[in-house]
Symmetry: C2
Subunit: 669 residues, 2 copies
């Protein structure tokens, strides 16, 4: 039921409020779960090589041949982190991810830090995926090149709408793009490597271009700068790790044994991602691809002229496909479109994953309680809308620059890695104090070592990102995390305070019951809803029962009185004067008078309420009842009973038992 106009608009977009039975998704086999949940991680090879090349383009000192080695380094880190999370998901298979690990081992504050980081991450997963999606779409359709921002926004809106409608695509449908993408990338890599092996080295379009370096590089800072740039390239490439968290929180969706299956999925997708990243960076370096931040400034054609203003830089994967399949352009389009598709699946994990985290945070009292019940589509709509709104803002603010967004992204991703892994180290410390079995202890020692290594590596990346990109945008991610941390903390404190306030006293002081009940039926006109309220009030057998009407209009009040007498209704009607044409105040005064007369009585006010079928009918009905209800609830020892009457318009709209006057459910009085 739409309770207001805005609700009606929402329903138009989101669909009818759910009546269908809640479905729990069936547990997924690995071959389906892997592509769905790892899509985020695997799709990162559609933009991670670009970030590596881009970072390296900042200096002429490092040969582009360094790129593959950075790819290898990132691949190695992927494997370390994946190893960490294989341990995590086995130790905490409930899908709480780093939030659970940090909360349980480092305390609620650390958990809150992770939660804030993960919430920021969801926004950025959506923003980054759709920004890169827009880049691939404009590569396939160069006509759209000037509309990159709108394309990204439309993408976000469509995914949001799909998430809001809850018409979740079946996992199989979501698995297809990921497999296609894997196929496309490996095909590209194989053909590329074969050609390289055969000596027929493909040349990228940008192979003959030159990258201009504007930075002044004096001798003294040269070495340091180069180290920093390599570190930057490495940390930027680490964005490939962002998707690890998605798998870690999806554990409950796996078939049993969940922890093990999820762990193996992580391992498999980690291996695939590392392999693809290494392969692609190698091929990019061999084919001579140039990728810079601003091609109009930094890229020069072979003839020495700057690239034209219309020049749109293609993503590295697209350039590779161009070069490798230079005699089969259809393959180029296949690779590009499949990359766009897999990015949609990756973005979708954010919209789908968000409710789970929100639900967990709400249950722990860090978010409004109504978010705790995951099944409630309408409640989550608000969260998803917020998510989409933030993502759109980011896309607009960065003008759909993946590079900028990725720096923000890295902050959230690695902040949660660091805290999560630190938590795991403590977890093993605790366990080691309890366990004596030497074999188990060895395993735990190894686990602690792995988690510790993960924590150190993640700290390093986080440090590099924050130091090198703080002013360029990373501060925004830090600020957003800090803001969320504070708000969630405040919510938690509020709930705790209220819980203390409401705790029942040990002596049962609050378990008192009123001595008598005084029932009041509010009558505005004599109609079926009023008569029903009267019947209901009579069946509850109060000590006293009266009907009350407020004489807003004297003529109609006396007409009402006359009609009441004519119908010989079994309840006395009291007419309250209202010299100022008010409805609420005289009634309130009457209730207060009853309260003064018998302060230990419970006053029960029956108010008929119309259940309507169309949004605009809300404007015409119930407004007075609503106001009366709100006002009466402020008076101590008063409860308000809403007696519903479904109008025909409701039954027509929503089915049900038809107009209630045809309802044979009541016996004659």
């Amino acid at each position: 039921m739409a309770s207001s106009f805005s609700d009606a608009v929402k329903r138009l977009l989101v669909g009818r409020p759910f009546r269908s039975e809640g479905r729990r998704a069936p547990a997924l086999k690995k071959r389906i779960a892997m592509p769905v949940f790892a899509s985020d991680m695997l799709s990162s090879v559609a933009y991670a090589p670009d970030e590596i090349l881009l970072a390296l383009s900042l200096t002429s000192l490092v040969a582009l041949t360094v790129a593959p080695w950075i790819g290898v380094a990132v691949g190695a880190v992927i494997l370390v982190i994946v190893a960490c999370y294989r341990i995590n998901v086995k130790a905490y298979p409930s899908g709480g991810g780093d939030y659970e690990v940090a909360s349980k081992n480092l305390g609620p504050r650390a958990g809150l830090v992770v939660a804030a980081a993960l919430l920021v991450d969801y926004v950025l997963t959506l923003a980054v995926s759709m920004t890169v999606f827009a880049a691939y779409i404009t590569t396939a359709f160069p006509l759209l090149a000037p509309y990159r921002v709108p394309v990204a926004i439309i993408g976000i809106l469509l995914i949001t709408l799909a998430g809001l409608r809850g018409s979740r695509a079946t996992p199989v449908l979501l698995a297809i793009p990921t497999y296609l993408f894997l196929g496309a990338v490996f095909l590209t890599m194989c053909v590329g490597l074969l050609r390289v092996g055969a000596g027929d080295i493909p040349q990228a379009e940008t192979a003959d271009y030159t990258v201009v370096h504007t930075g002044v590089q004096n001798e003294a800072t040269l070495g340091l700068a180069t180290v920093l740039i390599v570190l930057r390239a490495f940390s930027s490439g680490s964005v490939a790790l962002a998707g690890v968290q998605t798998v870690a929180t999806a554990v409950p969706a796996f078939k049993k044994p969940r922890g093990k299956n999820a762990g193996n999925t992580l391992l498999l997708s980690g291996l695939l991602a590392a392999l693809m990243l290494t392969g692609l960076t190698y091929l990019a370096s061999v084919t001579g691809i140039k990728y810079v931040d601003d091609p109009h400034l930094y890229l020069v054609r072979p003839d020495g002229s700057a690239v034209s203003a219309e020049y749109e830089q293609e993503p590295v994967l697209a350039q590779l496909a161009h070069a490798i399949f230079d005699n089969a352009p259809v393959m180029f389009y296949f690779v590009v479109l499949v990359a766009a598709l897999v990015l949609i699946v990756a973005a979708n994990t954010a919209v789908e994953g968000f409710p789970g985290l929100a639900s967990r945070l709400a249950r722990d009292g860090f978010l409004p309680r109504q978010l705790a019940t995951k099944g409630d589509r309408l409640t989550f709509s608000n969260g998803i809308l917020l998510l989409a709104f933030a993502a759109i803002l980011l896309v607009i603010a960065t003008r759909a620059s993946a590079t900028t967004l990725i720096q923000l992204y890295l902050v959230g991703v690695f902040a949660s890695f660091v805290v999560g892994q630190a938590g795991m180290v403590l977890h093993w410390n605790k366990r080691l104090r309890l366990v004596i079995d030497p074999k188990a202890r060895v395993r735990m020692h190894i686990n602690r070592l792995v988690n510790g290594a993960g924590c150190i590596i993640a700290s390093g990346v986080l440090l590099v990102v924050i130091v090198s990109k703080f002013l360029a945008g990373a501060w925004l991610a830090v600020a957003a995390m800090a803001g969320l941390y504070l708000v969630m903390g405040a919510i938690h404190r509020h709930y705790s305070r209220v819980a203390r306030e409401l705790a029942p006293e040990a002596d049962g002081g609050s378990r008192t019951i009123p001595s008598n009940t005084h029932a009041i039926v509010v009558v505005n006109e004599i109609n079926k809803p009023t008569l029903r309220a009267l019947s209901y009030a009579r069946v509850t057998r109060s000590s006293q029962l009266e009907a009350i009407t407020v004489a807003v209009d004297e003529d109609s009040a006396s007409a009402l009185q006359r009609q009441w007498n004519d119908m010989s209704l079994p309840v006395p009607l009291t007419v309250l004067d209202s010299p100022y044409r008010e409805l609420v105040r005289p009634l309130l005064a009457h209730v207060l008078a009853i309260r003064r007369r018998s302060p230990r009585d419970l006053v029960i006010v029956y108010i008929p309420q119309y259940i309507v079928g169309r949004w605009w009918e809300h404007i015409l009905h119930n407004q007075v009842a609503l106001k009366l209800r709100t006002r009466l609830l402020l008076v101590p020892n008063v409860v308000v009973v809403s007696v519903p009457w479904r109008l025909r318009s409701f039954s027509r709209q929503y089915g049900g038992d038809g107009p209630e006057n045809d309802n044979p459910l009541y016996r004659q009085a």
Copy 2:
């Protein structure tokens, strides 16, 4: 209590929800009522002469000396219409104005036409008054000349805000500007006439300017065009009549005998308005004031050059003050500022008068019912905001052109005059059929004659306005009236249909009572609100009583169960499974199961509700309760009881009895 964020914002602007006692304004003496309610009418001399001169400027054929005669003609019409309304207010002293007259004599459709016209008029009273206000303000402060539109909008916003806050200025305060204005205008007129009499004829700044006529005027159409232009000048000047309706609807505010006092006030202000209008147009003609639609196009300096782009045309009254007090500029500022002041008072009548009409329309079922109780400030806020919004739109759309707005205004004003006077003629016809006393019959015949004359004159003006200005904007007024007419008709039909649907059956078929009651207390946690709900449920002595909790989280559900047993509460606790972490659906299913088992029982669901003190607490509390309530009310034979618990934050914010746990009002169970 703010029930949402928007409410909170509103409260910030509008003030706290009223707790103060509703005040009925004391009945006003004529010397206070006249300036307050006639301000609209009297202030019209600040712009009516301008419209006459402007209309006449369209042709060179009619000498400007015609202007005073048009002033006289308008003055005469004012007296006729005032005579009509003296009759009206005596015959219908309840303040219903033309709406009442038309409804009672010509049927509800005619009444609806008048109502639509009057609603449009309220918007235009506000828009016209503040547009002219802006013109006077920019005359006093030429620096503001480019900001006429913002000045008018700020004026509307301030008056709206004052109206919303309901901090009604005392009538005495409102009377002062009107008296000052009367004083200023008569002083100007007297000094002017004395100087004319003494032969020292003041010359207006624009006296030596020439008006250019661009219209091609051939011999054949010349005569007709001139007649039309004179008619236009006459009808434009008739805007001075707009305020008559304001007095007619203010009758209940007068001291008794209300009809007579209001009638005399009308007569007095009519005489004053007629006198001022005649005097001012005469002086404008003597001092040679030129007033045209677009000075840059139509006004030429004595040396033959066009006026500069910076030239701002002053209102006629301001030009007169300039010319007449040419050696006392302070008087010019006095006149201009006092005119601006009186226009504020006039605009205020729209904001103050609107609720009265809306209340009457709501009581007759043409507007949403909640508007019927005039005393409810918050409800009217919506209406007033709508009024202000429409007025601001008009000011922007016409770029604060008083001339355009006045044409729209005339449509509404004279449409209601025509219908109202036609209604009065029928009224006298009816009365004449019933009365035999010859003296009374003579009076009635005279009244009928006067009302008939008023109807004919009003029809004439309406015709001229619609014919001459339909495409230039009058269509907008007609369309707005038609739209309102249709919407109000639809609302009325809806209410009638629902009333028929809900009418109790003659055989008392709907007076049935359920056989048993089945009470359910919804428990989320064991706290004071829950215990209170339990106590209240127990005191109503249902046939069956159970507490129900939904196991959204299995651990906490079993903890709850344990605590329940430990406290040995006298009511059994049922735990409902919720495999999908839902709260609402399992509860709904449970209620439906009860309904199936015993379809003739009444199910009473008790839901604790928190009464909070700060708007943001609404986000953190009650959302689930609200959803549950909405959903449960859709099930037949279910009522929902809201059991309020005021949080400390509420008591701190709004006083009251302090935290409820200190409340010694309940006896021990």
